[in-house]
Symmetry: C2
Subunit: 512 residues, 2 copies
């Protein structure tokens, strides 16, 4: 657990490695030369201009990025997108054409445009590492710095974290459904490029899908950028462009004798596709090779896969796998498995890459503290909608483990300390009569320093390390919390001090 | 109607203007220096390699891009994304690092990599212009060329057309709902950046939203790239960062006296927000200015807007507008209007920018003809799912107008001709007993030439022209077809010749 608060306490070698790594990432095709300063909502700039004109742009503030509701019917979210946040903050500056455009709007003074020209992010960022299991209302990113800077970055931070966390979470649901296949994990391949909400959604979506547990992607650019295994064999057009299905199968097996997965539903799965696949499988055997699999992309997948499995087995080809595709998601995969479908791998596209049932994570970024007269004051946003009332103050998120088991999370003020040798009473922030005492706990501080005074102090992990973090993280939670439908609600409580502060501010600001 | 088929029949000045325009577009920040050759699925490359090894890569083929089901509950789609397709095809080539990556996969021969190095798109593309009203199964893009090229581009074309068409269509639904407000169009502003599926989704989504009828966007990058009006004033953090709500309102009005929209729900709309807004409105009046509006972002929007309207009116401020935001979509906007909500403008985010209820348009790209022995043969893709059976052959889409009213569309073979002076009998391709005769019709060929032999021959329209095309297009359809729920189904028939060809091929390929 990193607890240092000051930049100069961070080992200079860590800072150096952090910069080497971010520069490496900035050279990836998806990041390189991308102008990002205008990836923002106009109201950030009008507010910045207002702060600037009022001479208040240096006012220090703290913002929390968090979400309120879990997507799909899930009980948690897998945090992702921090790499993109780090890339963005590290390179953030306004270039000539961007300043020209803003000037052309005739809304801003020249002095303001000049101020933007010198813009650099100088604040502190604490964040949960990518791959962390997180819950509603927990700050995933905490930003502190001059309001001029902290305001601008709201939109981009939300876009990156909302999107990648959403897709990582959806993927994990799908991978979890497929993992129950025959007691062994049926691997899931992300194949959603053509249905993604444009290029970035496909590439960063493929990245998030790998974090969430996919074994590979069809997306070649994502493979190039993030070193994700790329997968794919043939589409229907391959079959159609040959005089016969058998010709098409033979030509493919001849091209990739070690990795042939034949698409068998172009004409008729049972009468044509599987019969021709068996011929090719035998021809491969004669050459000392094996047919890797067949793929079914239409029709009733449960029925067809069972029939295909028995036909293959009867032909002495028990080793040939069967891949499913065709609008799959966690629900249909689960049902297919319950009905004994004989798939060994799953290609999932549309419903994964868009998180079809919940295509947005509603992350928000809220002011929680601001400096006045040199002192940081907690701030609250009250709302007609009770769930939209924010938790005030500069905070941290603690996860308590008892015997290696995640017991509860606590959102506390940043300066609070807990003596792990004493019992700790936690209580539900809404139904305060619900109480729980934990003893002999270990505590993890989920927010780690990423930028301090604008300097990057966090060495971005590799994608495989992030994926590993998901697996490790999940292993600490009970299956009731991980259940995909109506999961048991994990305790996320407020510290007594934070709870009292919140209620004090609520009464102070609420007009009579 | 453009009917020329040969590149040399296109006026050289048109070709020149087309290139000037595409180069202009290629310099926009969202397009500039974006590597796009690997925006493809791996199976396109494995198939290309198979064709290449078999010496069949020059085989000419025709592919259709079309969709099968309308999104949301809509009766049509607004085609969009062609500009992105043109940008992509015009610059498509493999660069050094892309070839290196493909080589590193150890799947392809050096000869193939060398072949990719010389890759240029040399085919023909016909497409419906952006902003065209289209229906299921109609080819929106038709590509003809060597299979080596036509295969590679499948994924990117689908991604671009699927995404932008989806968002344009969803937006039109929302704008239509808001247009019924008090008999006048209540303008809709796109504010979805933070909930978009990453950067491209936000920028190209804002573009599509403008096509679909939004008056502006909060997205500054989209404003810079596509000259869309950018809009926005303040968020809750502006209010919170001041000692009081009134101070915050005053500071904003002082900064933008000609364009102040005050967010009035930070503490309490009725007890605090609107009261302070009235004070500021009067202070503006004293300076000869007017408060433009207030915005309500939480609480019950119908109730609050009516109360706010009557409070403003009672205060002698009938000119102050009221903007709604907070998870809006076409359904809630329609219901709010029915309940007499008093909004004059709508800021719509999440549900527009993700097309929340249907976050993907299921466009596909199917082989419909291929050359063998120098002759182009129609091709069909049969499927267990009847709706997935394709329409074979190189085709065109005709729209028949009677008295300026769109009567029916006909998908016909490209070489078919129709004598507009004779009656034409159309019939439903599934329920063939349903017949309709049209007379004295005019006919529009929806597919226009975009590339001929790889050369761009289409001058991309401006975004405002595209938006105008939507309005014009909609005006030709009856309100029954445009109804947002259970619309009357517009006739999209197959020509007799195409219908017969399809059924002939179905019987030929279907095993007994």
């Amino acid at each position: 657990m990193i607890s240092v608060e000051q930049k100069d306490k961070i080992d200079p070698r860590v800072r150096e490695r952090a910069m080497v790594r971010v520069n490496e990432i900035a050279r990836l095709p998806v990041y390189r030369d991308r102008p990002a300063a205008l990836v923002t909502d106009l109201y950030q700039l009008t507010m910045m201009y207002g702060y600037f004109r009022a001479g208040r742009h240096q006012q220090r503030v703290v913002f929390d990025l968090f979400y309120r509701n879990n997507p799909s019917e899930n009980g948690y979210v897998i945090a992702a997108g921090l790499e993109q946040v780090v890339w963005y903050l590290n390179q953030l500056q306004f270039r000539g054409e961007e300043l020209e455009y803003l000037r052309s709007l005739n809304m801003f003074s020249d002095a303001f445009i000049d101020k933007l020209q010198d813009f650099r992010f100088t604040g502190d960022v604490y964040a949960v590492p990518e791959g962390t299991i997180v819950f509603p209302n927990e700050p995933l990113v905490r930003v502190e710095g001059p309001i001029f800077e902290v305001q601008l970055i709201e939109s981009a931070l939300l876009t990156f974290v909302n999107h990648q966390s959403l897709i990582a979470t959806k993927t994990q649901r799908i991978v979890d459904a497929a993992a129950t296949s025959s007691g062994t994990a049926g691997p899931v391949i992300e194949m959603g490029l053509r249905r993604a909400q444009n290029m970035d959604a496909s590439v960063f979506g493929a990245r998030a899908a790998f974090i969430g547990g996919c074994v590979g992607t069809s997306n070649v650019l994502a493979g190039q950028c993030f070193d994700i295994p790329v997968m794919g064999t043939m589409g229907h057009s391959w079959i159609q462009s040959f005089p016969s299905e058998l010709d098409a199968f033979r030509a493919y097996a001849d091209t990739f004798p070690d990795n042939t997965v034949l698409l068998i539903d172009t004409y008729d799965v049972l009468k044509s596709g599987i019969q021709n696949a068996i011929i090719v499988a035998r021809e491969l055997e004669a050459k000392g090779k094996t047919l890797r699999g067949v793929r079914i992309d239409s029709g009733d997948l449960a029925y067809l896969s069972k029939r295909v499995r028995s036909i293959l087995d009867a032909a002495g080809l028990p080793y040939v796998g069967i891949t499913a595709s065709s609008d799959l998601d966690e629900w249909i995969i689960r049902d297919l498995i319950i009905q004994g479908a004989a798939f060994t791998a799953w290609g999932v596209g549309t419903r994964l890459i868009t998180s079809y049932d919940t295509p947005s994570l509603g992350g928000v970024y809220k002011l929680v503290a601001h400096e006045r007269d040199g002192v940081m004051h907690p701030s609250i946003k009250i709302s007609e909608n009770a769930e939209k009332v924010t938790n005030p103050g500069k905070k941290k998120v603690l996860r308590f483990y008892v015997d290696g088991h995640a017991s509860a999370d606590l959102i506390a003020l940043d300066d609070e300390t807990f003596n792990t040798s004493e019992p700790l009473e936690l209580f539900d922030p809404v139904h305060t009569y619900k109480r729980k005492v934990i003893r002999n706990y270990e505590v993890e501080n989920l927010l780690v320093p990423v930028f301090l005074n604008g300097e990057l102090v966090y060495e971005l992990p590799t994608l495989r390390q992030i994926r590993q973090r998901v697996e490790n993280g999940l292993s600490h939670f009970s299956s009731e919390i991980l259940r995909p439908v109506k999961p048991h609600i994990y305790h996320v409580d407020l510290s007594k001090k934070l709870w009292e502060l919140k209620h004090h501010l609520l009464h102070e600001f609420r007009p009579e």
